[in-house]
């Protein structure tokens, strides 16, 4: 049985594409057959984050318009043979495809894949409607700040109105030192505001930038975000994994306190 998951946020720049690349790669590493669809027509990015930009021959719009077969447009990942990318078109716009067409495409992909990820564009217009059309599950990516939380709340409402009931939240780019000094919303604050299940907490980390520079998702490697993404993958398939301890505890009193604390 395959699962179709849309990765969305409302607000731009919160980490949807990075999340799609890492969670997709992580699930493929666990042995599942995964396809990632970049639905951001006109602003193609998932290909560069995956490091596959030089292998594109056909794209999503070509498949929809019948210029090529679906199999011809799917790009196999460099490192993982379970993982495929269907890139977006760079020189077209969101009106080039309809929700019905995406839905039909997703149905065809279900035959061959365990997980189908739709990387959604920012906003709530046509591109968003296209991306959620075929999905039965959603991962909402947000950052612990007012505009991203507000947009996430709006997205939750729109997903529910469209019959998507399985919705989980990924809190991305959290800076624990700021949370501890009271200058950033905590996970508890976010949960209280949005009343939704948190499936992942990813710290703000320079390794994300380094991994994007290289075009190699960092899921599973020995960094905090690498572990955080790996844990998200396990939770997506239903395992219960405790959240990473991201606390920084740099203060004098915290250090004294930690001497008495058993882990």
């Amino acid at each position: 049985m395959s699962e179709v998951i849309v990765v969305t946020s409302g607000k731009g720049g919160v980490g949807k594409t990075t999340t799609t690349a890492n969670v997709g790669t992580g699930l493929a590493k666990l042995g599942y057959k995964v396809v990632l669809i970049d639905t951001d027509i006109g602003l193609r990015n998932l290909d560069v984050v995956m490091g596959l930009e030089n292998r594109i021959v056909y794209n999503l719009v070509d498949v929809i318009e019948g210029q090529c077969r679906l199999q011809q447009a799917l790009i196999k990942d460099k490192r993982n043979e379970n993982l495929y990318l269907l890139p977006s078109a760079q020189t077209r716009d969101k009106t080039s495809v309809s929700p019905e067409q995406i839905n039909a495409l997703v149905e065809e992909l279900r035959k061959d894949f365990d997980f189908i990820f739709l990387d959604c564009p920012a906003g709530i217009e046509q591109g968003f409607k296209n991306a959620i059309a075929g999905a039965e599950r959603a991962l909402i990516v947000t950052n612990p700040e007012v505009s991203a939380i507000r947009d996430a709340d709006r997205i939750i409402g729109l997903l529910e109105a469209n019959g998507i009931k399985k919705i989980d939240l990924i809190v991305n780019r959290i800076k624990m030192e700021m949370v501890e000094e009271g200058n950033m919303l905590s996970i508890d604050d976010v949960v209280e505001l949005l009343a939704i299940n948190v499936i992942g907490i990813v710290p703000d980390d320079k390794n994300i930038v380094i991994s994007t520079n290289k075009g190699e998702p960092l899921v599973g490697n020995d960094t905090l975000p690498g572990k955080a993404y790996e844990n998200i993958c396990h939770r997506i398939v239903g395992e219960e994994i405790p959240f990473l301890d991201l606390s920084v505890n740099k203060g004098f009193f915290a250090k004294i306190g930690s001497l008495f604390k058993r882990n």
Binding site: V146, R150, D153, G157, E181, N183, L185, E192, L193, L194
Partner: protein
């Protein structure tokens, strides 16, 4: 938070963010824009002023969440705090 902030009870910016978002999300969810709230407020003032002398500057209305009486979960509720200056006794004009 530093000792200084704790001693002088400086409100953290995260707390500001949370409080602002609480009201913002409720008004977003109920589709109640500040313009609509202003219109409701003015209508309430007009109606109540027929019977009572109210302090229209001190009047505060908000959409909040409250426990539902009929089902589980919360429902939006209109909360109004209307300070009364004086009852207009006998003035049933």
């Amino acid at each position: 938070m530093s000792l200084f902030d704790v001693v002088f009870k400086k409100k953290s910016s995260a707390e500001d963010a949370k409080n602002r978002l609480k009201f913002l999300l409720v008004s977003d969810r109920t589709d109640c824009s500040p313009e609509i709230m202003e219109a409701i407020k003015n209508d309430i003032i007009a109606v109540i002023s027929k019977y009572m002398d109210i302090d229209s500057d001190g009047l505060d209305i908000q959409i909040t969440q409250t426990e539902s009486e009929t089902s589980d979960g919360t429902v939006p509720a209109l909360y109004a705090n209307i300070p009364i200056r004086d009852m207009k006794h006998g003035s049933t004009k």
